[in-house]
């Protein structure tokens, strides 16, 4: 008996089955073994704040009797839980007369005490059932099977394991670390390079679970970010986002999972590249939002701060990006707004006019300005009126000209589009609208090509025209693409012509006035001086005798229209004027050289003409509209 020890034999056998069994260095008949807990079906765990748990720890059934006190529930599915540590001690009388002493411990105390003691007691009944023999292996096997089942913790009244919130972080960390470790050991087939790779060299997207190797992912995303192709920063799997079940046929095709900067960093994309991506994405959203206002300082033009688009933090991993589902709801709501003119958004922007919401602060230069009048912030109670951005910088003018000459705007969102190659059926990179590159017409996405197949229309049979892109190509037949902001170009052309006529007329009038010989010296006087001049002239008319009867009338008319000839501000100082001035400076490309008249001269001439007409009793024919107006208000979007 003494030379054959069943206890020694059993421990030996166990350690060859479980090499991780660690014998106690002091007591030969003691050993510990870690039992991993990775339930086949992930265990649902609910984390409660500590107040809710005060009752819970008292409750023996493990069912919390939390009253209506407010708390936030967090249900998480965990596939891996910290291991159970089994301490075994074999007493002298084991196995014939005494069961083994076992003690179970769970790291982080995640397993309820009651459950632990229940499991501990099981060893005794097993030992009894098996006829008091060596029982350790059976017991360990029993525990492992229990772990596989999640110890049936989800069979409780709650259907989940309830734990204090304090344990949440460490349990989640353990779960993800173990998952990563398991993943690192696997072999994955990368769908891009088609090579088998070890899990360590791969990255699994957390949201959709698709796996690719890191070097392919880096190549692809680095390239896409360099090219500014933000829309392609999404999961690369062809079937990602397509399997979304249509609910009531309302959900169209769901977008593929877009990536959080955290993911890009984790797969090893440069910090700088990721920052560029986040920056572009944010800029796109800012630009897509009609309520975004930009700093009026011409050297800055940064967007105003907005709570909806928080600035990009130094640590990109913490950046709160809109998820793709948010994007969708955003799009949906804007679509609704577009249909409904009485949209809340319009109401919102109107409300902004009356309140302190007019205050905007540039996020780049911190300039505080009014989002209505675009001047420095004037306080909440000042009245102000919308103002056109006064002039364009040389760079903006150049951009504007280029956009006008070389791009076709999307009919839905007005994004300027330029074709590099392919057919003339375009899909907007910004809003996904279908349109014709040649004429800018909106096309039905279901059947875009019929536009090119209706004989008699402008674009008939022209789907493949300019297939190699329009850059530098001149249409041979004159019908081709000519910078298809067609209506804008035409409007500007019309405005230019009208102005030319007007200027010619003014010049003529001025000429007449000169020959009249009365007013040569005062041509370039300031407005007030001119007004004084009017009266002087009136007096002269009165002295002329035969105009006696008309004089009061003329005076009346002059007074009534005073506001027209002498506007408080220079007129036509808007963007369109700036563009026209710019074109004029470029010199006679569009027009034969004509005398460049500045506004003051023109106004002066116009006034002169009015006076002449008054003299001939024709002032009723004078039209105040002949003064340039700033109704032609073009803007760069």
């Amino acid at each position: 008996m003494a030379d054959y020890d069943e206890r020694e034999e059993e421990l030996k056998t166990l350690s060859s089955i479980f090499p991780e069994l660690s014998p106690d260095s002091e007591d030969f008949y003691c050993a510990t073994l870690e039992i991993p807990v990775s339930p086949a079906k992930p265990l649902l765990v609910r984390f409660l704040p500590v107040q809710g748990l005060a009752n819970l720890s008292l409750d023996l059934n493990g069912t919390p009797t939390v009253n209506a006190a407010a708390y936030i529930e967090r249900d998480v599915e965990l596939a891996h839980l910290p291991p159970l540590t089994l301490h075994m001690n074999l007493p002298e009388k084991y196995p014939e007369e005494a069961p083994p002493d076992v003690r179970l411990e769970a790291e982080e105390d995640w397993l309820p005490k009651e459950k632990l003691s229940e499991l501990e007691q099981q060893v005794r009944s097993l030992w009894d059932d098996y006829g008091r023999c060596q029982i350790l292996f059976s017991y360990i096997d029993y525990l492992r099977q229990g772990a596989e089942q999640g110890f049936d913790l989800d069979q409780s009244a709650d259907g989940c394991l309830v734990l204090p919130m304090s344990a949440e972080q460490s349990l989640l960390a353990y779960d993800s670390e173990t998952k990563q470790a398991v993943f690192n050991e696997t072999t994955q087939d990368c769908g891009i390079c088609l090579e088998p790779k070890k899990g360590v060299a791969c990255y699994q997207l957390p949201k959709c679970g698709h796996v690719f190797c890191k070097s392919c992912l880096q190549d692809f995303y680095n390239n896409a970010i360099s090219e500014g192709d933000v829309a392609n920063i999404r999961c690369l799997s062809p079937d990602c986002g397509k399997s979304g079940p249509a609910v009531n046929g309302k959900i169209k095709r769901r977008k593929a999972n877009s990536l959080h900067p955290r993911d890009l960093l984790a797969m090893g994309v440069d910090d700088q590249k990721v920052r560029r991506y986040v920056d572009m994405k944010r800029k796109k959203k800012l630009e897509a939002n009609k309520n975004t206002v930009y700093c009026p300082r011409t050297w800055c033009v940064g967007p105003a701060k907005s709570p909806k688009y928080p600035p990009i933090p130094v640590d990109l991993g913490t950046y709160a990006m809109h998820t793709s589902s948010d994007d969708e709801s955003d799009e949906e709501s804007t679509a609704k707004h577009n249909k409904n003119p009485q949209s809340p958004k319009a109401a919102e922007s109107e409300a902004a006019l009356d309140s302190a919401d007019r205050l905007a602060v540039c996020e780049k230069c911190s300039f505080a300005f009014c989002r209505v009048c675009f001047r420095g912030w004037h306080g909440q109670y000042a009245r102000c009126f919308p103002r056109n951005p006064n002039e364009l910088s040389a760079e903006e003018k150049a951009s504007y000209d280029y956009i006008l000459a070389n791009t076709s705007p999307c009919p839905t969102c007005n994004s300027p589009t330029q074709k590099a190659m392919g057919c003339n059926h375009m899909k907007c990179f910004n809003c996904n609208a279908h349109f014709c590159y040649l004429c800018g017409a909106w096309l039905d996405g279901d059947n875009p090509y019929q536009h090119y197949n209706k004989s008699g229309t402008d674009c008939y049979q022209r789907l493949w025209e300019l297939e190699e892109g329009d850059d530098g190509q001149a249409p041979e037949d004159g019908r081709g693409f000519a910078g298809n902001r067609r209506w804008e170009v035409m409007a500007i052309e019309a405005a230019r012509e009208a102005e030319a006529q007007e200027a010619a007329a003014a010049a003529q009038a001025e000429e007449d006035a000169r020959t009249d010989g009365a007013l040569q010296a005062q041509e370039r006087e300031q407005a007030q001086a001119v007004q004084a001049h009017v009266f002087a002239r009136m007096a002269r008319i009165e002295l002329g005798g035969n105009a006696m009867a008309e004089a009061p009338q003329a005076r009346q008319a002059g007074n009534a229209r005073q506001r027209n000839p002498f506007p408080a501000q220079p007129r036509a100082a808007g963007a369109a004027m700036a563009v026209r001035n710019h074109e004029r400076q470029q010199g006679g490309q569009h027009l034969p050289a004509r005398p460049a008249l500045n506004n003051d001269e023109r106004r002066q001439a116009e006034l002169q003409r009015f006076l002449d007409m008054a003299e001939r009793d024709e002032e009723e024919g004078w039209d105040s509209d002949e003064f340039p107006d700033d109704e032609d208000d073009f803007r760069i979007r």
């Binding site: 769908g191 390079c193 088609l194 392919c216 390239n223 829309a231 057919c423 090509y449 090119y452 789907l463």
Partner: protein, 152 residues
């Protein structure tokens, strides 16, 4: 480099296990970015009996950019342009729909599926698409005539 390796791999796979009705080889020995495919017209379609020469150009960014596919054999089909280019721009071949894990095998399978079942709603030749939808007999007849004329 990685791209070449992938193309070689795909070429090897496709030659040991070619998709039904397709024969693939390189157009030139020393250019792995230019593939020549001979595709048989699918059974039960007007193209049956025809042999279609399709050229596939793999851009140097492949697989990050989609392959460009052209029919060198004239074909009467709503999804293939009726000109000397014979371009096809459909589904996964579009730049914004292309995903790198797609392979040429998948592309060829798609092409064959589109030959068997034209997609008139996504057509590049709306006239042919219209005929396909409204006068299927006339469409089949012309398609068969073209097969006899060009694809033998």
């Amino acid at each position: 480099m990685a791209a070449n390796k992938r193309i070689m791999k795909e070429l090897g796979e496709i030659n040991t296990n070619p998709p039904p009705g397709c024969a693939i080889r390189l157009a030139k020995e020393d250019d792995i970015n230019l593939w020549d495919v001979t595709m048989d017209g699918p059974q039960d379609s007007p193209y049956t009996g025809g042999k279609f020469h399709i050229q596939i150009v793999l851009p140097k960014e492949y697989p990050f950019k989609p392959p460009v596919l052209t029919f060198r054999t004239k074909i009467y089909h709503p999804n293939v342009t009726n000109d000397d280019k014979g371009a096809m721009c459909l589904g996964m071949l579009r730049a914004d729909e292309w995903k790198p894990p797609n392979k040429i095998v998948d592309v060829l399978k798609l092409v064959r599926a589109v030959l068997a079942a034209p997609q008139p709603d996504d057509a590049v030749e709306a006239g042919i698409a219209n005929e396909f939808k409204t006068d299927r007999k006339a469409f089949d007849k012309t398609a068969q005539d073209w097969v006899k004329k060009y694809a033998k």
